[in-house]
Amino acid sequence: MMYVAAVFLPLLGSIAAGLFGRFIGDRGAQVVTTLLLGVSAALAVPIFTSVALEGHSVIVPVLHWIRSGSLDVSWALKFDTLTAVMMIVVTWVSFMVHVYSVGYMAHDRSIPRFMSYLSLFTFAMLMLVTSDNLVQLFFGWEGVGVASYLLIGFWYERPSACAAAIKAFVVNRVGDFGFALGIFGIFFLFDSVSFDTIFAAAPAKANTIVHFFGIDWNAITIVALLLFVGAMGKSAQIGLHTWLPDAMEGPTPVSALIHAATMVTAGVFMVARMSPLFELSNTALMVVTLVGAATAFFAATIGCVQNDIKRIIAYSTCSQLGYMFFGIGVSAYPAAIFHLFTHAFFKALLFLGAGSVIHAMSDEQDIRRMGGIWRHVKVTWALMWIGSLALAGIPFFAGYYSKDSILEAAFASHTLVGHFAFAMGIAAAFLTAFYSWRLLILVFHGKPRADERVMAHIHESPAIMIVPLMVLAAGAVFAGWLGRDMFVGHEEAGFWRSSIEVLPSHPAMEGMHHVPEWVSMAPLVVAGSGIALAYLMYVFAPSLPGWLAGSMRRVHLFLLNKWYFDELYDWLFVRPAFRLGRGLWQGGDGALIDGVGPDGVAAATRVIAQRVARLQSGYLYHYAFAMLIGVAAFISWYVFNAR
């Protein structure tokens, strides 16, 4: 009962606020959704205790969904350690975001709609993490996609928001297509979509070969790669990442909840959930590692030159997701999930803190027009510092433990791609620290660059926005320290049990405890130098960034334009698609179908009508002639046909 309630209460809140928002009013919608989510969050704690700590994994059947041939999909909630961890993250961050939104969205015109979408998203996300089969997971997967679309385009009067929403939806569709193909492939291989059945049968199928396009492929590799394409779309990995920065068009609480803490980590969760499958394919794991490492580095480089406060954090999210993926790629699933767990807290904290800054600065988002406001918003300033310390991986903050374990695992995997990932991760850690402090310095320190009207208006956010930040800050400070032993330490095996499977041939998790001293120290050293560089460039030698940008114009532009991914896609896909559509519309439909079809027939009818009417001359002898010709023609017909 507790399990079902925890999942379905947010849906109840969403329906109440969405359909009956007019009756219960703004305040009613806020109270209903927040309260129900609070209950759900509270329930997540005993669930975590029972499932993860005491080891009582359960499957709660809800109802039969589809039965067609050998396809049997039931609606069931699966609770194991992985799910319980995700539930804690999802419900608590979502609860905090709900509370925060009460303050942040206070002046909006459609509060019930917003609260309803938030709760709907939470329900879909819970559905995703609790599913016990792939189809149900896909339902939640698409559900969060829809909610994300609705929330990015929440301010639908803005063309840019609508464009961003469509972009997010379409780019995700590319990933979802791969995911769907992966599900089809799994059903084809295993004749089932239920996790337990698949995982039980997986080792036996490890060497199944499928013949496709004239080449023999390992079936598991293909399926795993297709699933990973889905994960790449949802988790904004390089190539399919372009939607995430644009998604910042949505209200800031949405960015915190969906595009930092929860939805974007669904890809990581899914791959971890499918670990028994991925473990069987070294090729797939290698691809995951490469993509994750590349994303971690690539996104961090872009983050260094962006000027929009939310976009910097968005690229940071992208980069951190890359860490999680290469963690998975080296079979360090627990480390990846650990990073997911800690990242949720400090990234949500950073986003909500950024929201608080934007709120204070009268909706200003460009960090070049901020600066020197720390005196006015001291609490926000302190909280942002905590978030940045955690993100940069400074000891004893949450990010320190999780990021270090991923990097150590990558080193300890003793493979070429593992070492490549380690190098990329170290470089990204340096950049992370740099852009975090660049942001902090430009926003809070130095001289104010905003105009006086804005400066006069600066105020600390109300308590309803600050309290959730504090809760998240507590998570950002303590989550790593508290969770270390359970997630990646010596209690690890007893904690995860069967929810994650690692083959003995992938010893990274074990090896990470036995890496050389310099490997453990490296992340800390580069983070410190990153911070130092930021201070050098933005405090002690403020002319340096301008000089650098000028002297390395091409590099700067390359980074500023996000490696030209959007331009490339625009040229490669968007424009040809528009051209094709326009061609089919004007040429195919307009000229060919309309022109020959309705319009052509109508024009022909008109011409025929005129000709026929012209025969009607009004002259008697014409009429008589026509009659005689008619008779003569009929008679001739018979005369010539008679022989």
């Binding site: 025929i608 009659m627 010709i629 005369v639």
Partner: protein, 480 residues
Amino acid sequence: MILDLVPLMPELLVAAAALALLMLGVFRKADTSREATVLAGLAMGGALAVLVGVEGARQTAFGGMFILDGFAGFSKALILVASAMTVSMSLDYLKRENIARFEYPVLVLFATLGMMMMVSANDFLSLYLGLEMQSLSLYVLAAYHRDSARATEAGLKYFVLGALASGMLLYGASLIYGFAGTTSFDSLAKVLGGSGHPNLGVVAGLVFVMAGLAFKVSAVPFHMWTPDVYEGAPTPVTAFFAVAPKIAALSLLTRVLIGPFGELAHQWQQVVVFISLASMAVGSFAAIGQTNIKRLMAYSSIGHVGFALVGLAAGSDLGVQGVLIYVAIYLFMNVGAFGVILAMRQKGRAVEGIADLAGLAKTNPSMAFVMAVLMFSMAGIPPLAGFWGKFYVFMAAVKADLWTLAIVGMLTSVVSAFYYLRIVKVMYFDDAVEALDHPTNPPIRLVMAVSALVVLLFTFLPGPLLIGAKAAAQSLFAAG
């Protein structure tokens, strides 16, 4: 001898009434047009009652020249109903145009008598007598408004071309007599039934006869008089032309082709298929450009004849049944539509442009509704009666494997829907420049209401018409 005249009782009544009204009009000095019209209508009603009384098994008179069977009875009933309805609508119009005279109803009575003779003809001689009696009356009626140049022109054109058609018919009949040795339909059926390969002379004669009759039903390519005469003649005359003579001539054509020439079906079917196709096409396409509603109705009637001929082309009892159902429904649609056209007046002056109907839905919703129902029905849109008319003839054609006819018929009915719906569009969506007067004449309003009701309710009560048409069609085949 007395017994011999029983089948003729309805005709005798109409003839006597016509003569009596003629006397009445000549010998009374005052204007008797009203009395004459009412009495003519009553005479037709009486004739209908007598017809119902005497109708039954197949009976002949005048030594087999005259026949009364189920087919003739059904057609006569339709003719009488059509004549009575159109004559009752005419008086008001004629009075307003100052051409109301007692000759009008008398001429209509004589024309009706001729039509009744036509559908009962069982010999080429009686056929010709009936046809000419009808035609001569109609020639005069067409030019009835003798001060109007248009009407006179229409009458003259109709007369000259009609004479030509009559000549063809006579020539054909003489050819048939020359090659078959008889003019009696019964004997012809026997003579032609025996021979294996048809004589070319007989076929040529049949083609001439068909040409003459096709002129009367205004089938393409013998249709060209129709638009000019319809437009030129006074509107009540046009209304009369559009319905009763069409029914009579179609019935006659059907009897001639199915009865004496039934064995030559393969020969005449080719001609019927062609004129049917051509009529449907011309009726659909030529009407599109018209601005005068009477001219439009002329093309519409050409098209409808084409559809009715589809049933005849099938040559089966199902086809004949389809023809009878089609003309019965055609009767009510056309009479109703002409009721609306007769009621089209602006400030007392008759108008006949399609554009004059603009905005009728606002100025006179009920009239617009009647017209809309009739137009939808003519376009063949279910569930109105016009759809079922087309349905039965096309079904007969499909059963007879005449796919071309059925498909072309469907396509042309789509084209014709354009101009029917355009009238609806003009009435409902265009703004009125000047509103039409409200019709005050009770007979017109009654006719409009009755025809709209028949068209609307046929779907729910098709029984009487279907059963009647079926019995009539079977009587024709049982005899042959």
